[in-house]
C-alpha cells in the first residue's frame, strides 16, 4: 500500500491562534490610530482576568463537548459556587480551604447529576443540563436578592488581584487547569475514551469503552471547573453573587469559546489548547472594543459574526477533508 499523502497526525497550531494574532495586530493598530494603547499594563491585566474566568469554564466545557455532550448549567453553578465560597469563608482566612473543598464537592455533585441524567436516563444533554440549571436558578432566585457572604481577604488578595509580572495568579491557575486537562486527554485512558465516545459512541462501546462512566466523569470535571471559576469570581468580587454567572453569559460564551477553538460541537475532535485560544480571542475583542469605547450592542453583533464565521470556516475545512 502506498505511503501517498500519509502525513503523521496533524499536530499543528489550531487556526484560532492565527485569528488571535490577526485580531490583536489589527486591534493594536486601530487603537493606536485612535490615540490609545492596547497593551499597557492595566489593559493587559484586565484582559487576562477576563480570560481566566471564562477560560476555567470553557476548559471544562471542552471536556463534555469532546464527549458529545454539553453543559448549559455552568452559569448557575458559577453563581452558586461564589455564594458557597463566600458564605463558608465569611471573611475568615482560616476557612479558605474548607470553602474551596465544599465548592468542589457541591459542583461535582451537580456534575454528577448532569452526567447521570444524560447517561442513565438518556435525557438529551441540552435539556438535562438546562433543567438542572433552572433548578439551581430557582434556588438562587428564591434565597438571594443580592451579594451575600464575604470572601476571605487572603483569597481576594492571592487569587483576585495578585500578579506575577503581568500574569495574574488566576491566569496561572487557568494555565495549570488547561495543562491538566490536556494531559488527561492525551495521556490517560479516560481522555482517549472520552474522545472516542464523542467521535462515535457505537465504535467506543464495541471497543470495550464504558461510555456512561466516561461521560459522567467528564460532566463532573466540567462542573468542577465551573466551581473553580466561581471561587475565582468570589475572590474578585469579595462576596458571593447570585447572578454573576448568568450576567456574564458564561454558559453560551464558554460554548462559543470551545467552538471557536476548533472543537467539533458534535464531539470527537478538538482540544483544550484551542479553547484557550478561543477564550483569548473573545477577551481580546472585548478589550479592543473597550479601548475604542464601542457601543455595547455593536460589540455583541461583532461577536456573533465572529462565532458564525469561525464555525463556517471549520465546516468548510471538514468538508474539504471529507472530499
Amino acid at each position: 500500500m502506498s505511503a501517498l499523502s500519509l502525513l503523521p497526525a496533524r499536530r499543528s497550531v489550531p487556526g484560532v491562534f492565527v485569528a488571535l494574532t490577526l485580531t490583536l495586530t489589527i486591534g493594536w493598530l486601530v487603537v493606536l490610530l485612535d490615540g490609545g494603547q492596547l497593551f499597557n499594563q492595566s489593559t493587559t491585566v484586565s484582559l487576562l482576568h477576563v480570560a481566566a474566568g471564562l477560560g476555567l469554564v470553557a476548559v471544562g466545557q471542552t471536556l463534555v463537548i469532546l464527549g458529545g455532550s454539553l453543559d448549559l448549567s455552568v452559569a448557575y453553578v458559577i453563581s452558586l459556587s461564589t455564594l458557597v465560597a463566600a458564605e463558608t469563608m465569611n471573611g475568615s482566612d482560616g476557612a479558605v480551604l474548607p470553602a474551596i473543598g465544599l465548592v468542589l464537592v457541591v459542583s461535582a455533585g451537580v456534575g454528577l447529576l448532569n452526567g447521570l441524567l444524560v447517561t442513565r436516563f438518556r435525557v438529551n444533554a441540552f435539556i438535562a443540563t438546562l433543567g438542572v440549571g433552572l433548578l439551581l436558578k430557582g434556588y438562587l432566585d428564591n434565597g438571594y436578592d443580592g451579594p451575600a457572604g464575604t470572601t476571605a481577604p487572603s483569597l481576594v488578595h492571592a487569587l483576585g488581584y495578585q500578579r506575577i509580572g503581568p500574569l495574574p495568579v488566576s491566569f496561572l491557575l487557568l494555565i495549570a487547569v488547561t495543562a491538566a486537562a490536556w494531559f488527561a486527554l492525551s495521556r490517560t485512558r479516560f481522555g482517549h475514551h472520552l474522545v472516542a465516545v464523542g467521535g462515535d459512541p457505537e465504535v467506543a462501546r464495541l471497543s470495550g469503552v464504558r461510555n456512561d462512566r466516561v461521560l459522567v466523569t467528564a460532566h463532573v470535571l466540567c462542573s468542577m471547573c465551573a466551581g473553580l471559576a466561581g471561587i475565582y469570581l468570589a475572590s474578585r468580587l469579595g462576596s458571593g453573587a447570585p447572578r454573576v454567572g448568568t450576567e456574564g453569559l458564561y454558559d453560551l460564551e464558554s460554548i462559543a469559546a470551545v467552538v471557536i477553538g476548533g472543537t467539533a460541537l458534535a464531539g470527537g475532535r478538538g482540544g483544550v489548547i484551542g479553547t484557550v485560544g478561543g477564550v483569548l480571542l473573545l477577551a481580546s475583542i472585548d478589550a479592543i472594543f473597550n479601548q475604542l469605547e464601542v457601543d455595547a450592542f455593536f460589540k455583541q453583533v461583532i461577536r456573533g459574526v465572529i462565532i458564525i464565521a469561525a464555525v463556517a470556516v471549520y465546516a468548510r475545512r471538514a468538508m474539504r477533508k471529507a472530499a
Binding site: M1, L6, H192, E202, V203, V209, K321
Partner: protein, 503 residues
C-alpha cells in the same frame, strides 16, 4: 460433504434463530479449523449475516451450541466474543476517523505505564502488528480519516489482532475495495492463515470465494444446504445450491405484447458515483424487474432516476426529450414516482395521519390553487381504491400494518398520476395477503399505461412479476433476461459466473 479437518477452532451445531416468529436460521452446522478460510455464500436473506452475528456475539441463538477453542461458549455481547478471540470486520468500519491508527487499534485497552497511556509503546506495538500482516508503509500515528479504504481495512484487522483474535469474520471485505486493492487483501488473508487464524469469509463474489477459501458452506432460507471442499466444486454447482425453489404463489398475468407502449425512459451510458455506463429502456405498459445482490446498484439506479443522487454522466431521455433529473422535485414534476425500500425511514411520516401522508407529495409539489378540496377528495378516493383496511383516514400511520402503510404510500404517488413508477422492494416486510394486493396494483398500473420499474430481492416475486429482468452487478448492468427466466439465470448474472452478453 467433506470431513472437517481435525481440532476445529469453531464448531457450530444446530444453530437456530427466529425474529418475531420468522425462522431466519434453522439447524445450521459449521466449523472452522485454525488457518482455514471457510467461505459462507447464499442469496440475500439466506441468513449469512444473522449467522455471523451469532458467532460474533451480536445475537444469541435460540437453539444449538457454539463451541470455540474447545469450550462451549455463550457470548453476552460483541465485547464478550472479542475478549474470547473472535473478531469481526464489518463492511462498515468501526473506526474513529479523527484518531490515529494506534489510538484506534488500542481503543478500549490502551497500554498503560505508571497509570498513564504509554503512547510510545502503543505506537511501537501498532507498528509491529501492522508489520506482522505485511503492512510496513502505514505510519502508526497517521490519522485514520486520511487513509484509503484498503488501509482502513488493515487497521480494522490490526485492531482485531491486538485483541489476540484467533477467528476473524470478514463480511463482504471486498465490497468497498477497488480492483487492485483486492489483491492486497488476498495477501493479507494468506498471512493471517499462516498465523493459524481461522477465517469466516462471507462474500457474494464467487471468484473470491474460489480464490481464497478451503471449504464453502452454502446457506439457503436459513438452512445449510451443503459444505463442500472448494477444490471439488464449480461455480455452477454453487449457484444451483443457492437457488431452487418452486414458484408456488400466484402472480397477475404479464403484459401482452400489444400492451407494451413506446419507450418512456431511456438511459444511455448513465452513471454516477455508484453506477457506471447504465443502458436501459423502460417502456410504457411493462413491468421491468431489476435483480441483483444488495449493493449491486439496484437502489442506486432508482435513486439516480428519481434525482436523489442524480446521474453525473450519460444521457437520460423521457418520452424522447432529454431531461436532467436533478432532484426528487424535478423528477416528480416529470411524472416519476419512487416507492422507497426504506418505508419507515423514507416512506412515511409516522406521526402524521393516513390522509396527511397520502397528501404529502401532492401538497409539496403542486400549488394549492388547483383546489385543496378537490385534491383531498381525490386522495380519499385513492385510499379507498387501494383498500386500506381497519383504519380511518385520520389515524396516525404508524399504527397501521406494514402492508397498509405501503398502500398509503402508493396512494400518495398515484395522486400525482405518475407515468413512471419506481418500486424498490415494494413488498418487503409485508404479509402475504397485502403482498398480492400490491402485486395486482402494480400490474394494473402498468396495464393502464404506466412504465414500472421494480426492484426486488425476492426472486420468485421478481420472476413472477417482471416482463423483462435486468440484473445489476457492481454498479452496471450485468445482463438482461426475458420473462420466464429461471432463478439460476438471475443469480448467475448477479454473482458473475457467466460471461456478460455484449451490450
Amino acid at each position: 460433504m467433506s470431513d472437517p479437518p481435525p481440532t476445529p477452532l469453531l464448531t457450530l451445531r444446530g444453530i437456530g434463530k427466529s425474529f418475531l416468529g420468522v425462522r431466519v436460521l434453522d439447524g445450521v452446522d459449521l466449523d472452522v479449523a485454525p488457518g482455514e478460510v471457510h467461505a459462507v455464500v447464499g442469496e440475500n436473506g439466506a441468513g449469512k449475516s444473522t449467522l455471523m452475528k451469532i458467532v460474533s456475539g451480536g445475537y444469541a441463538p435460540d437453539g444449538g451450541t457454539v463451541e470455540f477453542a474447545g469450550a462451549r461458549r455463550t457470548f453476552r455481547g460483541p465485547r464478550d466474543a472479542q475478549r474470547a478471540g473472535i473478531g469481526i470486520i464489518h463492511q462498515e468500519f468501526n473506526l474513529l476517523p479523527e484518531r490515529t491508527v494506534a489510538e484506534n487499534v488500542y481503543l478500549g485497552h490502551e497500554p498503560v505505564r505508571r497509570g498513564l497511556v504509554d503512547r510510545r509503546g502503543m505506537l511501537d506495538r501498532t507498528t509491529r502488528l501492522l508489520a506482522s500482516v505485511g503492512e510496513t508503509t502505514l505510519p502508526a500515528d497517521a490519522r485514520v480519516g486520511q487513509l484509503g479504504v484498503a488501509q482502513q481495512q488493515v487497521v480494522e484487522i490490526a485492531k482485531a489482532l491486538a485483541l489476540d483474535a484467533r477467528l476473524l469474520i470478514m463480511d463482504e471485505p471486498t465490497a468497498a475495495l477497488a480492483d487492485h486493492e483486492v489483491e492486497l487483501l488476498y495477501g493479507l488473508v494468506r498471512r493471517l492463515q499462516e498465523r493459524g487464524i481461522g477465517l469466516l469469509y462471507v462474500s457474494h463474489r464467487l471468484a473470491e470465494v474460489f480464490d481464497l477459501s478451503g471449504r464453502i458452506t452454502v446457506l439457503k432460507d436459513g438452512r445449510r444446504v451443503t459444505t463442500v471442499d472448494t477444490a471439488d466444486t464449480t461455480a455452477d454447482e454453487l449457484v444451483r445450491h443457492m437457488v431452487g425453489r418452486e414458484l408456488s404463489s400466484y402472480y397477475p398475468d404479464r403484459a401482452a405484447p400489444e400492451d407494451r407502449g413506446p419507450v418512456r425512459l431511456n438511459l444511455r451510458d448513465a452513471g454516477n458515483r455508484k453506477l457506471r455506463d447504465v443502458n436501459l429502456q423502460l417502456r410504457a405498459g411493462e413491468v421491468l424487474g431489476i435483480g441483483g445482490l444488495q449493493g449491486s446498484g439496484r437502489s442506486a439506479l432508482a435513486r439516480a432516476i428519481f434525482g436523489v443522487s442524480p446521474f453525473t454522466t450519460g444521457d437520460v431521455t423521457l418520452d424522447d426529450r432529454p431531461v436532467r433529473l436533478r432532484s426528487p422535485r424535478t423528477a416528480m414534476r416529470a411524472g416519476i414516482a419512487y416507492v422507497t425500500e426504506d418505508r419507515k425511514g423514507e416512506g412515511i411520516v409516522p406521526r402524521q395521519s393516513v390522509l396527511d401522508n397520502a397528501l404529502l407529495a401532492s401538497r409539496a409539489v403542486f400549488a394549492a390553487r388547483s383546489g385543496r378540496a378537490a385534491r383531498t377528495t381525490r386522495v380519499r378516493e385513492l385510499l379507498a381504491a387501494v383498500e386500506i383496511r381497519g383504519a380511518g383516514d385520520d389515524q396516525e400511520i404508524r399504527f397501521l400494518s406494514g402492508g397498509n402503510q405501503q398502500k398509503v404510500v402508493l396512494a400518495r404517488w398515484l395522486a400525482l398520476n405518475p407515468r413512471i413508477l419506481l418500486f424498490d422492494e415494494p413488498t418487503r416486510g409485508i404479509d402475504v395477503g397485502a403482498k398480492s394486493a400490491i402485486h395486482d396494483l402494480v400490474r394494473r398500473l402498468a396495464r393502464d399505461g404506466a412504465a414500472v420499474l421494480m426492484i426486488s430481492s425476492d426472486l420468485p416475486e421478481l420472476l413472477g412479476m417482471s416482463d423483462r429482468i435486468v440484473v445489476m452487478r457492481d454498479g452496471h448492468v450485468a445482463g438482461e433476461l426475458p420473462a420466464g427466466a429461471t432463478e439460476e439465470e438471475v443469480v448467475a448474472l448477479a454473482v458473475g459466473t457467466v460471461r456478460e452478453p455484449a451490450q
